[in-house]
Symmetry: C2
Subunit: 245 residues, 2 copies
DNA sequence: CGCCGTATTGAGCGCTCTCAAGCTAGGTGG
DNA sequence: CCACCTAGCTTGAGAGCGCTCAATACGGCG
């Protein structure tokens, strides 16, 4: 269902990667929410945003909550492709195929996304070069995610995953303390591990006093040790905040 | 060393994803090789194209041979991020960081790449909307690669990897028969497996008469069986040829 | 308060890793 | 042209990590 438009005091808007465009400062006037964002969707937990093979039409900026994209293989097993957290944009993966190659589903209740028609987004690119760079920037950023999912040990994978999440959530929360929007099952699926293994690893990391983990609440206690476990599996990246101008 | 420019009869140019621009038909005149491609580089096996942390300046279209991008972790272990085969373009991963987040190295002798300055490429986008779509298309395509690297069994990973390669090489060779440009070690590294495991799998797939593998020469004998092993781990994708117009 | 999805914990097995020893092929130099 | 040399590939044996299956505990939501 459609929602009210852009609100520059809304914290979910402040964290959005497209904030600088929706906030319509100076010469970006034309890009105010009414133009760029067609409507907002509120999604409940496990509510589908788009489905595999749907005709590609929109990309979506995540304002609150989170989503996962996934594909169901021949066994009926779900394979998670990517997570999309508040401030990130999904849908670009469909440019290549012209239909969505994955399904996208909310992993948190109260997930809110802004629907951005792709064709109109492309149209604005010519008037707003900065928007163009931004799009390429978003798409490029994804390339650096998930480098660690082939790490030889489960511990390395989870450590790197937590560090990546911590970086991606940087803009919104404390770097060392954050709340997982995904289940153990989903983490395991994404990392190529059984959910039980993920659970055991959380226990182990807590016993070593490297993190504390109360259900989905994670606090990184020993950042250095966690980085050591991850073995520099992530290339050091600038916080994306820097580009939000 | 710089090389002669675009040659529309050169098979390596014909297979390039940017062929339609370099071939300069009609209104794309301005995009002939001299403008889009600054120079060509010939690389020997294991010769570096760019290095981690180098200032981002160019993307590179692979005309012949192949490359891998990789990152060296804290253990000194190489972690392969992606392979780039003839007709594909690398370097976009650096947009986000403004330096190359991985190193790129040739995995075949006689690798040839066309150097395309990113800023000038961006400049042409405004005059040639089709070029813009193409760039987004290339970048989007990468999102669909490597979905299978977290598959639970090694056999599934390798089967899916071979199928993906077969699709990516479609434009250049027979779909069922192709030549691997990467070593067993590299395949294992990419798939999160030991090289020995990869080797054993090749042996096993041969004994089942699903493929034949003489060193780097691969022939898929039973496509259906290979797809069954891969468990539909790849979303079905159109051959990129279709978009080369 | 009771339910159901999620998380934890345990036991035992099997796949893949490691280490190690041959083998093959392609390239080099005599 | 052939012998050597080296990197890459294959094959084997044994160990260990993570998976499966199963039972129990937790916690959010009605």
């Amino acid at each position: 269902m459609p929602d009210e438009g852009f609100d520059k005091n809304n914290p979910t808007c402040k964290n959005c990667m497209l904030y600088c465009f929706c906030s319509a400062p100076m010469d970006y006037q034309a890009l105010s929410a009414q133009l760029l964002v067609r409507k907002k969707h509120k999604l409940k937990h496990k509510e589908l945003l788009y489905s595999y093979r749907d005709q590609f039409a929109n990309v979506y900026a995540v304002k609150a909550g989170g989503l996962k994209t996934y594909h169901v293989d021949a066994d009926g097993q779900e394979r998670i492709h990517q997570f999309y957290l508040a401030g990130e944009i999904l849908g670009f993966e469909a440019i290549y195929t012209d239909y969505y190659p994955f399904s996208a589903i909310a992993i948190a209740s109260d997930t809110v996304v802004c629907e951005i028609p792709y064709e109109s987004l492309l149209g604005y690119v010519y008037s707003y070069p900065e928007l163009h760079r931004k799009i390429l920037y978003f798409m490029s950023q994804r390339y650096t995610f998930g480098l660690y999912i082939t790490a030889p040990s489960a511990e390395q994978r989870l450590a790197a995953f937590l560090l990546e999440l911590s970086g991606r959530l940087h803009a919104q929360e404390q770097r060392q303390e954050f709340s997982l929007s995904m289940s153990r099952q989903d983490i395991g699926n994404y990392l190529g591990l059984a959910a039980e293994t993920v659970s055991r690893l959380f226990t182990r990391l807590q016993q070593s006093n490297i993190i504390s983990a109360n259900n989905r609440k994670i606090k990184i206690l020993e950042m250095r040790k966690l980085q050591w476990l991850a073995q520099d599996r992530l290339p050091s990246l600038p916080p994306h905040k820097a580009l939000i101008s």
